[in-house]
Amino acid sequence: MSLYERKTTVERAIGVAVLVFVLFAPQLVSGFWMDTVLTQTFILGIGAASLVFLSAYGGMISLAQAGLMGIAGYALGNMVTERVEGGETKGLLLGWDPTLSVVLAVLLTVGIGILFGAVASRSFGIYFLMLTLTYSVIVFLFVSQVTQVGGFSPIAGIDRYTPGFMGDVVNDRQRLYYVSLAVALVVYALIRYLVRTPFGIALEGIRDEPVRLASLGYNVTLHRTLAFGIGSLIAGVAGVLFAWWSGQLSPSDIGLQATIQLLVIAVIGGLTRIEGAWLGAFAYIWISNEVTNRIPEGGLWLIGGSFNTVIGLAFLAIVIASPDGLMGLWDRIWNGLRGRGGTGEPAVATGSAGSQA
C-alpha cells in the first residue's frame, strides 16, 4: 500500500469511528456535552466549513460568514416569532409558518451573499479579507441600529416556532442534535461533491491562476461570486441551526468577536481541508470550556487576562507552527513519513494561508 492510500485508509477508519461515536453520543455522554459541546460543534463547524470551503477551494478567506449566519438567524427570528401576550417583544414578529420561514431565511442569505460576493469578487487576498470583515460589521450595525428588526436586546423564542419535523426543540435537544449532525454530514458531502464538478475544478484554477483562467475564457468574477453564494448558503443553514440551538439572537452573535471566533475555529482546524472545520470547532469549544472552568476567577496566573489571552496564544502558536492548522499538522506528519519513496499524493489544497508568497 502506498503511503497515500494508507493515509486515506487511516482517515477513513477515524472517520467511521467518529461517526459511530457521534451517532451514539446522546446515550454515552451527559446532556451538557451533547447539547453544548457536540451540537455546537456541528453547527459552528458548518459555519466554519463555509469559510474553509471558500478558502481551501476558492482561495478567498472571507470574514463575512459570521455575518451571513446572523442574517439567516435574524431573518428567521423576525419571520417566525409572533406577538403574543407574555411573549416576545423584539423584532418584526411576523408569525409566519416556520418551514416557509426557514426557506425564506436561507434564500435571503444567499441573495445577500451573492450581492456581497459581486462587490467583493474583484478583490483578492488581503483586500478581500478586509472587505468581507466590513460586511460582517455592516450586518452587525444594521441589526443593532434598525431596532425594528432587533436592536441590542436579544430576539427570543425562536426555538419555540420550529417546523414540524424538528419537534419541541426547547425540551428535546436530542432531535436538534441529530438534525445538526445530519445537516453537517450533508454539507460535508455536498462540498466534497462540489469540488469534483467542473465548477469546483474551475474554482480551484481561479484560486491558483486567475489570470490564466480568465484568458482561457472563464468568467472569473462570476465564478467567485457564485462560490461566495454557495458559501453563504452553507452559512445560512448554519445560522438557522444556530438560531434554533440558542433560541435567542443578539448582535453580539454577529459582531467582531463572532467573526474572529469563526476565523479562529477555521484556522485551528485548518484552512486547507474541510474536515478541519469540525475539528477546529470541537477543539475551540472544548478548550474554551475547559479553560474557562479552570481560570481562577479574576484572571490567569501571573499575567492576568482571561480566556481570550489563552485562545490568542493558541491561535498564534498554530499560525506560527502550523499555518494549516491541525489538519495541516496531520498532513505534515504523513508527509514526513515519505522518506524512502512513498508514492506521490495528490497535492493537498493549499489555499492561500501560509505557504504562498
Binding site: M1, R6, T9, V10, A13, I14, A17, V18, F21, L28, V29, S30, G31, F32, W33, D35, T36, V37, E85, G86, T89, S144, Q145, T147, G151, F152, S153, P154, A156, G157, D159, V170, N171, S246, G247, Q248, S250, S252, D253, Q257, A258, N289, T292, N293, E297, G298, S306, L337
Partner: protein, 468 residues
C-alpha cells in the same frame, strides 16, 4: 520502525486517543453530587461594567456571611469565594463567579456553563440589562431553575417576559429615576427639557423613568436625541440638542463608556456645563475617569440607583458594620453602590427562601422566596421592599445631588425620598404596552402614585418637608 509498524501505530494511536477522549468526556461530565444547593453568582468582568466583578461578588458573599454563616476565603478578594454557608439545613455551594461582558452571547455561554454543566440550581445575577433579557428568556424554558436578578435595569425580564422563576428585589432602570423629573421641575423650575439617551434598551428604560416623571407633573420634553451605543464622535448628536437658550435643561442618559465623551462634546458645542441645567441618570455618579468634566456637574440633581448613600439609620449602620467586618478593604462608598447592594439583597432573599423551603430548590424554592424582604435602604413598609405580582420589587427611590466629596472627588448626597415606586409607574407601563423605546413613553400628564409626596432629605435624614 518499519513502515508496517508505523502504519499500525498510526492506526491505533488516533483510535486510542478517541477512546481516551470519550472516557474523559464521560468522567468530566459527571458533576459533583451531594446534597448541596448549587448557586452561581454572575456579574460582569469585562465590558462596560467590568469593574463591578469583585464588587458584585462581595455583595453576595457578605449576605452569605451574615445570614448563612459563611466565612469568606479571602477578605481582600471577594471572588476567592466563601465556605461554610448553610441554609435550610443544606450547604450552599457557589459553583462559580460568572464573567459576562454586557452582551447576551457571552452571558448565555456562562449560563450554560454554570447552570447546565456545573449544575447550579440558582443564579444570582446577571448584572446588565440585555444580559437579564437573555437570561429571562432562557429561564422561561427551564422552570426548575431559579434566577434572582443581580442589578440589571431592563424592564422586560419582570414585565413583558416575567417568567415565574425570575425574581428581582430592586427597581429597574425606570424606577431608579423616579422623582428626578419632579425635583428639577419644582426646585429648578424646568418646564422644557431635552433628553439625550443611548439608543438601546437600557438607555430607553432609564429615560422612560425620567420622561414619565417629568411629563407627568407638566414638564415638556421638546427633543429626544439617540446616539448609537458605540458612537466615537458625539459632536453631531450633541448638536441636535437645542442650545441652552431654548430649553431649561438637559437630561443626560448616555452611559457606559460614553458619558464623559458626550459631556465633553456638549462643552465643545455649547460652552461650559451649568449644574442647574444638567440632570441625568445614575451614570453621572460614575464619572470617575473624566476629571475634566466631572467637577462642573457638582450641584446637579441626578437620578438614583435604588440605594441611599449617606442615609442615617440603624439598619444602614448594621449593614455597613457587618460589611466592613467582612471586607475591611472596601468602604461605605462601595457598600452603598448598587452593584454591591443589589447582589447582597438578592442573596439575602435566596437564604431566606432556602430556610423556608428547607433547602429544596426548583419550584418549591420559587414558592418560598420572600415576597417581602428587609432592606436597609427602604423606609416604607417598615423597612421592607415588597414584590409585586410579577416578582418585581416595589422600592423606595432616592434621587441625589452631586457634591464635592473628600479629596475633591465628586460624591453624591441624598436629596429626595420617593416612596414605594412600582415598576408600572402607576399603570403607565403595562405588560401589553410596548417596551420603552424611542417614542415610548409619550410625554403625557398623569398622576403618579408618588407625585407630590417626595420628601426632602437633609444630611441623610428624611425630613417631613414635601418638595414643592
Amino acid at each position: 520502525m518499519s513502515r508496517r509498524t508505523v502504519g499500525k501505530w498510526k492506526l491505533v494511536l488516533p483510535l486510542a486517543a478517541l477512546a481516551l477522549g470519550t472516557s474523559l468526556l464521560a468522567t468530566s461530565a459527571l458533576g459533583a453530587s451531594g446534597g448541596a444547593v448549587k448557586v452561581a453568582v454572575v456579574t460582569d468582568c469585562k465590558g462596560a461594567f467590568g469593574g463591578a466583578y469583585e464588587v458584585g461578588a462581595a455583595g453576595a458573599n457578605i449576605a452569605l456571611a451574615q445570614f448563612a454563616g459563611g466565612k469568606v476565603k479571602n477578605n481582600k478578594k471577594p471572588s476567592a469565594g466563601i465556605s461554610g454557608a448553610k441554609a435550610g439545613g443544606k450547604a450552599i455551594q457557589i459553583v462559580g463567579y460568572g464573567c459576562g461582558d454586557d452582551t447576551p452571547a457571552t452571558i448565555l455561554k456562562e449560563t450554560r456553563r454554570l447552570m447546565q454543566q456545573a449544575g447550579a440550581d440558582v443564579m444570582v445575577g446577571p448584572l446588565s440589562g440585555d444580559e437579564a433579557v437573555a437570561v429571562a428568556n432562557w429561564a422561561k424554558a427551564r422552570p426548575t431553575k431559579t434566577v434572582i436578578i443581580g442589578t440589571a435595569g431592563s424592564q422586560d425580564p419582570t414585565l413583558q417576559i416575567a417568567p415565574k422563576n425570575v425574581f428581582r428585589y430592586h427597581g429597574d432602570g425606570a424606577q431608579w429615576n423616579a422623582g428626578i423629573g419632579e425635583i428639577v421641575y419644582k426646585k429648578l423650575g424646568w418646564r422644557k427639557a431635552a433628553i439625550i439617551m443611548d439608543d438601546y434598551s437600557f438607555g430607553w428604560t432609564s429615560a422612560a423613568g425620567i420622561i414619565a416623571d417629568f411629563c407627568a407633573i407638566g414638564g415638556q420634553i421638546t427633543k429626544r436625541v439617540f446616539p448609537p451605543l458605540n458612537t466615537t464622535d458625539y459632536s453631531s448628536y450633541v448638536r441636535q440638542l437645542p442650545p441652552p437658550g431654548q430649553v431649561d435643561g438637559y437630561f443626560w442618559v448616555v452611559g457606559g463608556t460614553g458619558t464623559g465623551p458626550a459631556l465633553k462634546a456638549f462643552e465643545q458645542a455649547y460652552g461650559q456645563i451649568k449644574p442647574t441645567q444638567h440632570s441625568g441618570n445614575l451614570f453621572l455618579w460614575f464619572l470617575t475617569g473624566f476629571q475634566d468634566v466631572a467637577p462642573r456637574l457638582i450641584g446637579s440633581y441626578v437620578g438614583g440607583f435604588g440605594t441611599a448613600p449617606g442615609l442615617k439609620g440603624k439598619a444602614v449602620n448594621q449593614y455597613h458594620a457587618f460589611a466592613k467586618k467582612t471586607y475591611p478593604g472596601l468602604t461605605n462608598a462601595n457598600f452603598d453602590d448598587g452593584f454591591l447592594y443589589n447582589y447582597y439583597q438578592a442573596t439575602k432573599a435566596l437564604v431566606d427562601g432556602l430556610n423556608k423551603s428547607g433547602g429544596a430548590v426548583g419550584v418549591r424554592l420559587q414558592r418560598a422566596l420572600p415576597r417581602t424582604l428587609s432592606a436597609p435602604f427602604n423606609i416604607s413598609n417598615g423597612g421592607n421592599v415588597k414584590l409585586d405580582a410579577n416578582r418585581q420589587a416595589i422600592q423606595d427611590q432616592w434621587p441625589v445631588q452631586i457634591v464635592k466629596g473628600p479629596g475633591g472627588t465628586p460624591a453624591v448626597t441624598l436629596t429626595g425620598y420617593v416612596p414605594n415606586v412600582d415598576q408600572t409607574f402607576g399603570g403607565l407601563f403595562k405588560k401589553s404596552s410596548p417596551p420603552p423605546g424611542r417614542t415610548q413613553p409619550p410625554c403625557v400628564k398623569k398622576k403618579l402614585p408618588w407625585q407630590g409626596k417626595i420628601r426632602e432629605v437633609k444630611n441623610g435624614v428624611v425630613t417631613n418637608t414635601v418638595i414643592k
